[in-house]
């Protein structure tokens, strides 16, 4: 076998293995919450995830893959001996894949993206020396790793505050939801399309001005908003409406307060006034009592339940949004290095204009879908059982915040951790008093995994590099 074709096959296999790993472990982040809240059945969740992960990878996965391909290392450093680079990339993929499997087996919180970037940079640093690493691009990426959970936390915090003010704190939540719903649908689709069309869609060769972009996005948002407006109208509002009835609870409360105040006057007065006040008080008291009997206070529980039910559909949208964004961002982890190696084998150098062939993106997408189909659905099921706290309103806010952050970063070519964005988003909701209890011990673990993952995957990739090198030398060069 030719060395080149061996390398081609090797890089494709390890790339596919990596994509499989991503599909097996990370897709659950997008869909787990929807399964947990009962918004989607497991089958539907897997189907939606597969379709959206693939389209995310195919349509929007290019920019981050380019970063992974040529944004981290100066490839010219390796051009004297391209084999070193090819082996390094193979080693990086293999190391990350193995490291991820160990980590997920042991339940450590690691990020695929951090591990991948760690192995590529680690390899470049040790084998190529410090000048091989593009520090000016690597450092901003690391900075966004800190910033991205905060940004997605902020977005979901604001989103949840809006829901609180407009729906949860409203006196009739269902009616308020009906009013707000079309706007929320509009926002989701508007943000989704604007962040997708931002920088143009390279695969479709679209180049739009900002104004055109907004217009198109608004149009895309407008249609589903209209549809939802029609659909939401059909939802029945609980019939016992305090607002239209004279005996609404607030009135009863006011009457009781009045009676109470009168009783105070009564106990502080004498003779005439005392008698008058006491008759007044008893009259008011009996009036309040009869009003109380007339109408029961509305069933609050059912009101909030209806709201949550209505939000199920929004949560499905936002979960799909996450799956799409995840596909767009994470396919690069598998595809970026593969593209780099294929380019080197083909041209002897990384080409000036980076091209990630569409078939390669599709290849990564298929890998992710396969990982999801063979293993990932199990993880979705477990996560779904564990996360029941994320009700549709909360889930929607968290996923909206995370997905927006990830998609914008994907369009800017920044690889970041989907998991961390989601954690940030959930914490944002917690800050807005939306969660019953959050385990902040997780943060320590995440930071720890941060500090450990990068060196660990770097060391792993170097070990892998030497192993592969010995292997290749044994079978191809020695003869």
């Amino acid at each position: 076998m030719e060395l080149d074709s061996f390398f081609q096959i090797l890089i494709l296999v390890v790339g596919f293995y990596m994509a499989w790993n991503i599909g097996a472990n990370d897709v659950s982040n997008a869909m787990g919450t929807s399964v947990g809240s009962g918004a989607l059945t497991l089958k539907k969740a897997v189907f939606f995830a597969a379709v959206l992960e693939f389209s995310g990878a195919y349509f929007a996965g290019g920019s981050v893959s380019e970063t992974m391909q040529r944004g981290l290392l100066h490839t010219n450093v390796f051009l004297i001996d391209p084999t070193v680079f090819i082996l390094g990339m193979c080693a990086a993929l293999l190391a990350t894949g193995i490291w991820l499997q160990i980590a997920s087996y042991c339940g450590w919180p690691v990020s695929t993206t951090h591990a991948m970037v760690g192995s590529i940079v680690g390899f470049g640093l040790i084998i190529g020396g410090p000048e091989a690493v593009q520090w000016d691009r690597f450092l901003p990426i690391v900075l966004t790793w800190v910033a991205s959970p905060m940004i997605s936390g902020l977005i979901s915090y604001l989103m949840f505050i809006i829901l609180q003010k407009k729906i949860l704190y409203a006196l009739n939540p269902v009616e308020a939801t009906k009013k707000l719903y079309p706007f929320l649908v509009f926002t989701v689709f508007f943000v989704f399309s604007i962040s997708l069309l931002f920088n143009g869609l390279e695969n479709l060769n679209l180049n739009l001005s900002f104004f055109e972009l907004t217009l198109i996005a608004a149009f895309i948002g407008f249609i589903p908003a209209c549809v939802s407006y029609k659909l939401v109208k059909k939802v029945e509002t609980p019939s016992t409406y305090p607002h239209f009835s004279p005996s609404r609870p607030q009135n009863i409360i006011s009457l009781e307060k009045a009676a109470k105040h009168l009783e105070r006057v009564q106990s502080a007065s004498f003779k005439n006034i005392h008698d008058k006040v006491s008759t007044l008080a008893s009259e008011i008291h009996s009036l309040a009592q009869s009003m109380k009997k007339e109408i029961k206070p509305p069933e609050k529980a059912s009101e909030y339940k209806t709201v949550e039910k209505m939000f199920i559909y929004l949560q499905i949208f936002s979960a799909c949004f996450v799956a799409f964004a995840h596909g767009a961002n994470d396919v690069s982890n598998a595809i970026g290095p593969v593209a780099a190696v294929l380019d080197i084998i083909k041209n002897g150098a990384i080409s000036e204009i980076a091209v990630i062939p569409s078939w390669l993106l599709a290849f990564g997408g298929i890998g992710i879908v396969l990982g999801l189909a063979t293993w990932g659905w199990r993880v979705i099921e477990t996560i779904g059982k564990k996360i029941t706290e994320l009700t549709p309103t909360r889930g929607f806010c968290a996923e909206f915040g995370a997905a927006t952050t990830i998609l914008v970063a994907s369009k800017l070519g920044i690889p970041l951790s989907t998991t961390h964005c989601l954690v940030g988003a959930v914490l944002g909701i917690g800050l807005a008093r939306g969660m019953p209890a959050l385990n902040l011990g997780m943060l320590k673990e995440i930071i720890l995994s941060w500090v450990i993952t990068i060196p660990a995957s770097a060391i792993m990739s170097i070990l892998m590099y030497y192993l592969l090198k010995a292997f290749v030398f044994q079978f191809f060069i020695a003869h």
Partner: protein, 224 residues
């Protein structure tokens, strides 16, 4: 990855409600004691007081369990100190109930005919205040759902106001009863008076603590 799943801590609100249920058991036992008080059967009262002590101990165990399992890094929608305050007020209520039960088992209460109804009224009102506070604690689930605002909070607020009103009635009855005792023609013996005085004070304390508990919950509401 299970990272996201591990972000969700166990909510301590359900254990808090369990503790309140245990406290309610104590109050129920205390009701039994007050019900048989006119029969002046010290032996039975003693037995009931013993049961009450047992129940109070159970509540204490739950309380300790909650305290021990509220890790420092858990992030709640309400202030930690508020949460612990709520727990400790609930605990105090159980303590008071136990004290009352034991006090009544020491000596047969000198329960004269004209004081009977007043004592019953005082006890009933004090217990009612407690049950109102318990209802408020049961609303906590829904408060979390509406993130401490909205109609759920409105409802709790009116319940808190009602608790305050009940407490006011209790102190009124308390004063009435004490006045009656002090203005009796044939004064009670010193030991009897000691028992009465404590009884009145502790019953008032249960109502006061219940009101305090309700007000604590009022503080965590998100109302303008």
């Amino acid at each position: 990855m299970l990272t996201i799943a591990r972000l969700f801590g166990k909510s301590p609100f359900a254990p808090l409600q369990t503790h309140m249920k245990r406290v309610a058991n104590c109050i129920e036992k205390l009701t039994d004691i007050f019900d048989i008080l006119p029969k002046k059967d010290l032996e039975r009262i003693e037995k009931l007081a013993k049961d009450l002590s047992e129940l109070e101990h159970e509540a204490d165990l739950t309380k300790n369990d909650i305290r021990n399992h509220l890790p420092k890094n858990i992030f709640l929608p309400i202030d930690r100190s508020h949460f612990l305050d709520i727990l400790s007020i609930q605990d105090h209520i159980a303590d008071k109930a136990e004290e009352l039960g034991i006090l009544l088992s020491f000596k047969t209460l000198d329960l004269q005919e004209e004081l009977k109804d007043d004592l019953k009224e005082l006890y009933k009102k004090s217990a009612e205040t407690f049950w109102q506070a318990k209802k408020i604690i049961e609303e906590l689930d829904e408060l979390v759902e509406s993130s401490f605002g909205g109609i759920g909070a409105e409802k709790v607020k009116s319940m808190v106001e009602h608790t305050a009103y009940l407490e006011h009635e209790v102190s009124h009855t308390q004063r009435k009863l004490l006045k009656k005792i002090l203005s009796q023609n044939t004064p009670l013996s010193t030991t009897s008076f000691y028992l009465w005085e404590h009884l009145i004070r502790e019953l008032g304390a249960i109502a006061e603590l219940s009101e305090g508990l309700a007000n604590r919950i009022r503080m965590i509401l998100e109302l303008k």
